[in-house]
C-alpha cells in the first residue's frame, strides 16, 4: 500500500510538471491532428501564395496558413508580450507601474497594428532563463526581450526570429582601478573574476573569447542581471560583461559612480537583438516582421506619429501603400490594411522609438541608423 502511495505521489508530481510545461496552449491541446495538417498546408500555400493573392481580390484569412495563434490573439483581444522588466531603456516597469523601453514600445506597435489600441498588451516580465520556454509553451505570444538571434535558438529552440531591432555587440566593463585604458585587450584581465548573467549568449561568448585568448578567469554567474550588477558594484567581480547597450544603460542607472568604470573598446561578439515568436504560425511571424519594417520604412520616408495624418493625402504611391490608403497589403497577411498607419500613429516610427528610449542613455544610433545614413536599418519594399 505504501508503495502505491509513493507511486501516486510521483505521478502527481510528474503531471504537475508536465502541466506546467505544456498546459498553456489552450487551443492546441485538444486536437493534435488538426495542427499537423495545418502545418502541411503552410508549405503548399506559401509555394504559390504570391500568385494567388495577386489575382484574387478577396483575401480570405484562411489563405495564410498556420494562423491559429494569431486568431487566438485576435479573439483574446490583447497581445501577451514577454519583456525584460528591470532593464532601463529596453524593458522596465517603473515605480508608477508603467512599462517603458525600446522593446516594450515594439509590443505596443504590434498591439496597435492588431487592435488599433497601443495599450492592448499584457506584459510578462521574463528572466533570461525562462524566456524561450515561455515562448515554446505558449505563455507569451511574442518575445521582445533583447534576445540575440542565433542559429541554435532559431533551429533547436523552435523559434522564429523577427527583424533585428537593435544591432548590439558584447562588451566588458571594468573598474578603472583594475584596467584604466579602454583600448586594453583581454590579456589585461588575466585571473579576473567576471560577473555574467546565466542563460545568455554572453555567457557562452565569454567562455569562447577567454579560451581563444588563453586567458584564465573565473565567472560568477547570476540568474538576474540586476543581481550581477549589484555584485559587481559591491566589488565581487573585477569586470562585468553584457551587451554594450546594457552595460551603458544599466551602468548609468545602477552604479553609484559610473565614471569609476570603463567599457573596453573590445567587441567580443555580434549580438543582433530581435523579437521572436514560436515556430508554427507564419501569420503571426509575418505580422511581427512587417510592423517593424513598416516603422523603419516610415522613418526613411520621414513619417512620424505627429505628421502621419498629413501623409494620408500624399500622392506618392509608396507612402499610400505603406499607410494602407491604396492596395491590399495588410489583408494579405490577415490584418487591416492600415496596420502600419496605426502603429505609426499610436507609437511612432523606428527613429522616434529609439530617441525616446535609448538616446537619453547616450547610445548613439551607429549601426542602428538607417541604411541611407550609413547604418544597417533597411526595410524591404512595401509592394
Amino acid at each position: 500500500m505504501r508503495k502505491i502511495t509513493t507511486l501516486i505521489g510521483v505521478l502527481a508530481l510528474a503531471s504537475m510538471l508536465l502541466a506546467a510545461c505544456g498546459g498553456a496552449v489552450p487551443t492546441v491541446s485538444g486536437e493534435p491532428i488538426t495542427v499537423k495538417e495545418t502545418v502541411l498546408v503552410t508549405v503548399e500555400v506559401t509555394a504559390e501564395g504570391g500568385a494567388v493573392a495577386e489575382t484574387t481580390p478577396v483575401p480570405p484569412p484562411v489563405a495564410v496558413a498556420g494562423g491559429e495563434r494569431l486568431q487566438t490573439i485576435m479573439d483574446r483581444g490583447n497581445l501577451i508580450c514577454g519583456v525584460h522588466g528591470t532593464f532601463q531603456g529596453f524593458g522596465f516597469l517603473d515605480t508608477a507601474g508603467a512599462w517603458t523601453g525600446f522593446d516594450v514600445e515594439f509590443c505596443r506597435a504590434w498591439a496597435a497594428a492588431l487592435f488599433n489600441d497601443a495599450d492592448a498588451v499584457e506584459f510578462r516580465a521574463l528572466s533570461a532563463q525562462d524566456r524561450f520556454t515561455a515562448l515554446q509553451s505558449g505563455e507569451v505570444d511574442v518575445l521582445s526581450r533583447n534576445s540575440t538571434w542565433s542559429f541554435t535558438r532559431d533551429g533547436e529552440l523552435g523559434l522564429t526570429f523577427g527583424p533585428v531591432t537593435f544591432y548590439d555587440g558584447q562588451a566588458i566593463m571594468v573598474r578603472k582601478d583594475v584596467v584604466s585604458d579602454a583600448t586594453a585587450g583581454l590579456d589585461a584581465l588575466e585571473g579576473a573574476q567576471v560577473c555574467v548573467q546565466s542563460g545568455t549568449t554572453t555567457e557562452l561568448n565569454l567562455a569562447d573569447q577567454f579560451r581563444a585568448a588563453g586567458v584564465n578567469y573565473e565567472p560568477v554567474v547570476f540568474e538576474d542581471q540586476s543581481a550581477a550588477f549589484q555584485a559587481y558594484e559591491e566589488g565581487r567581480c573585477d569586470a562585468i560583461t553584457s551587451d554594450r547597450s546594457q552595460l551603458a544603460t544599466q551602468g548609468q542607472a545602477v552604479l553609484s559612480n559610473y565614471d569609476d568604470h570603463v567599457i573596453l573598446d573590445l567587441v567580443m561578439s555580434k549580438e543582433p537583438l530581435a523579437p521572436a515568436v514560436a515556430q508554427g504560425d507564419d501569420k503571426l511571424a509575418d505580422m511581427v516582421h512587417w510592423v517593424v519594417y513598416g516603422m523603419i520604412q516610415a522613418e526613411e520616408l520621414g513619417i512620424t506619429s505627429e505628421n502621419v495624418d498629413d501623409f494620408l493625402t500624399s500622392e506618392d504611391p509608396v507612402i499610400r501603400r505603406l499607410l494602407g490608403v491604396e492596395g491590399e497589403l495588410g489583408s494579405k497577411i490577415g490584418l487591416s490594411n492600415d496596420f502600419i498607419y496605426r502603429a505609426i500613429k499610436l507609437v511612432g516610427n523606428y527613429g522616434e522609438v529609439y530617441d525616446r528610449n535609448l538616446t537619453p542613455y547616450g547610445l548613439a544610433r551607429g549601426q542602428n541608423d538607417l541604411w541611407t545614413n550609413g547604418g544597417l536599418m533597411y526595410a524591404p519594399p512595401f509592394r
Binding site: 493534435p32 523552435g158 542563460g199
Partner: protein, 388 residues
C-alpha cells in the same frame, strides 16, 4: 447460503474503487504526456538525451570535479550535482550542531541564553529563506573589505568580499607511504570502542565521561608518532598569502558558497532547534527526577536517560529538515552559486531540452532525498524503542 450481489460486495467495491483511481491517474498522465509531445512536435522539437554529449561551452565558477568549457553538457550537470551534494552534506553536518545547541539553549535556565535562542528561532523561522540568503550574500559577505584590506582572524583566516581564505593542508609526495598511520589511527578508535564495550558488559557501569577523550587522544598520538618517524612531513600547512591582486594558497570559500552554506545552516538550524526542544520536553520530567534520585548528575541524566529517549521523537522530523536543506539549496541560483538547479537551468536554456533537463533534475533530487531518508530510517530503527 446467500450470495451477495456483486455490486453490494464490499471487497469488490473496494477493488473497483482502486482500479478506477489508477485508471484516472493513468489517463491524466497519458493526456499530459500527449499534450507535451504534441506541443513539442508542433514546434519541431524532439525529445532525447543526445545533447548531453555536446560541448557545453560555458564556464562554471567553482567546480569540485575537473571541468572546462569544452566538456560536455552531461559533465556540466554532474558538476552542478556535486556542488549541490557538497553544500548539502556540509550543511546537514553544521546545521545539526547549530540546531542541537540552539535547542538546548532554548531550555536553558540562564535567562539571557534562552531568550537569545528564542529570538534566533523566532526571527529565522518567520522570514523567507531567499531573503535571508540575499541578506547574507549582499548584506554581509559582499560588504566585507576588499582583498587588500582583508580582515585577518587568527589562523590566519582572511575575510574578504572575494571569499574566505583559510590555511589548509597540502599533501606531499611522501603522503602515500604515510597512509598506514591513518589506518592504524582509525583502527585505534575501533579498538577503544571495543574495550569500552567489553568493560561495560563486564561491569554494567557507564564509563566516566572524560574517558571518551581517549577517542581523540589515541589517533592524534599515533599520527604524531608517524609525523616524527617520517623524515619528511606528509602534510604541509598551506597558508594563504597575498600575492598581487589575490590570496594564493590555502583553502578558499567563495562568497557564494559561504553565503549559501551559512544561510542554509542558520535557517534549518532554527527548525532543528525546535525539534530538539520538543524532543527533550516530550520526555516526562519524572524520568530526569528519577535519574537524579538514583545519584546521577544532571549531565549524566541528560546523556544516559533523556537523550536516548528524546532521539526517538527527534529523528523522524529531523529527516525532513535534512531533506528540506538539500532541496532548499536550489535557491543558490539567486546568489550565483553554481548548484544543480542553476547549471541545469543554463543547460536547458542553451539546448532547449527543457523537459529532459527538468526530468534529470527531478530524478537527481529525488534520489538524493530517498538516499538521505534511507540512511535516516536505518538510524531511526536503531534508536527506536525495542518492543518485546
Amino acid at each position: 447460503m446467500q450470495i451477495t450481489a456483486f455490486w453490494r460486495n464490499v471487497r469488490f467495491l473496494q477493488a473497483l474503487g482502486q482500479v478506477a483511481f489508477v485508471l484516472i491517474i493513468a489517463l491524466a498522465a497519458g493526456f499530459l504526456y500527449a499534450n507535451v509531445s504534441t506541443n513539442l512536435t508542433r514546434q519541431g522539437l524532439t525529445v532525447g538525451y543526445d545533447f548531453l554529449n555536446n560541448p557545453a561551452s560555458f564556464d562554471i565558477g567553482e567546480a569540485n570535479i575537473p571541468y572546462q568549457a569544452s566538456d560536455s553538457y552531461g559533465r556540466a550537470i554532474l558538476v552542478g550535482l556535486v556542488n549541490t551534494l557538497v553544500v548539502s552534506i556540509l550543511g546537514i553536518i553544521f546545521t545539526t550542531i547549530v540546531g542541537v545547541i540552539a535547542g538546548i539553549a532554548r531550555l536553558s535556565s540562564n535567562w539571557l541564553i534562552s531568550r537569545f535562542a528564542i529570538a534566533y528561532v523566532g526571527v529565522i523561522r518567520n522570514t523567507p529563506l531567499i531573503i535571508q540568503l540575499m541578506f547574507w550574500y549582499f548584506g554581509i559577505i559582499l560588504q566585507l573589505p576588499a582583498v587588500k584590506e582583508a580582515v585577518a582572524l587568527p589562523g590566519p583566516i582572511y575575510l574578504t568580499r572575494r571569499g574566505v581564505y583559510m590555511p589548509w593542508f597540502e599533501a606531499q609526495p611522501t603522503f602515500d607511504s604515510w597512509r598506514i598511520y591513518i589506518w592504524v589511527a582509525l583502527a585505534s578508535i575501533v579498538l577503544i570502542w571495543l574495550i569500552f564495550r567489553w568493560n561495560y558488559n563486564r561491569s554494567s557501569l557507564p564509563i566516566p565521561l572524560w574517558w571518551n577523550l581517549a577517542y581523540l587522544l589515541a589517533p592524534v598520538l599515533i599520527l604524531w608518532i608517524g609525523m616524527i618517524l617520517q623524515p619528511q612531513p606528509p602534510l604541509l600547512e598551506n597558508i594563504p598569502v597575498l600575492t598581487g591582486l589575490n590570496f594564493k594558497g590555502g583553502l578558499r570559500l567563495t562568497p557564494e558558497f559561504a553565503a549559501l552554506l551559512f544561510g542554509l545552516v542558520v535557517y534549518t538550524g532554527a527548525f532543528i532547534a525546535e525539534i530538539v526542544r520538543a524532543g527533550i520536553q516530550a520526555i516526562s520530567r519524572g524520568q530526569l527526577e528519577a535519574a537524579r534520585s538514583l545519584g546521577l548528575s544532571t549531565a549524566q541524566a541528560l546523556r544516559l536517560i533523556v537523550f536516548p529517549q528524546a532521539l526517538r521523537v527527534i529523528i523522524p522530523p529531523m529527516t525532513s529538515q535534512y531533506l528540506n536543506l538539500a532541496k532548499n539549496s536550489s535557491l543558490a541560483i539567486a546568489i550565483g552559486y553554481p548548484d544543480l538547479f542553476s547549471i541545469a537551468g543554463t543547460v536547458a536554456n542553451q539546448t532547449g531540452a527543457v523537459v529532459e533537463v527538468i526530468l534529470i533534475m527531478m530524478l537527481s533530487y529525488l534520489s538524493m532525498s530517498l538516499f538521505t531518508s534511507l540512511l535516516m530510517n536505518i538510524y531511526n530503527s536503531r534508536v527506536r524503542l525495542v518492543e518485546r
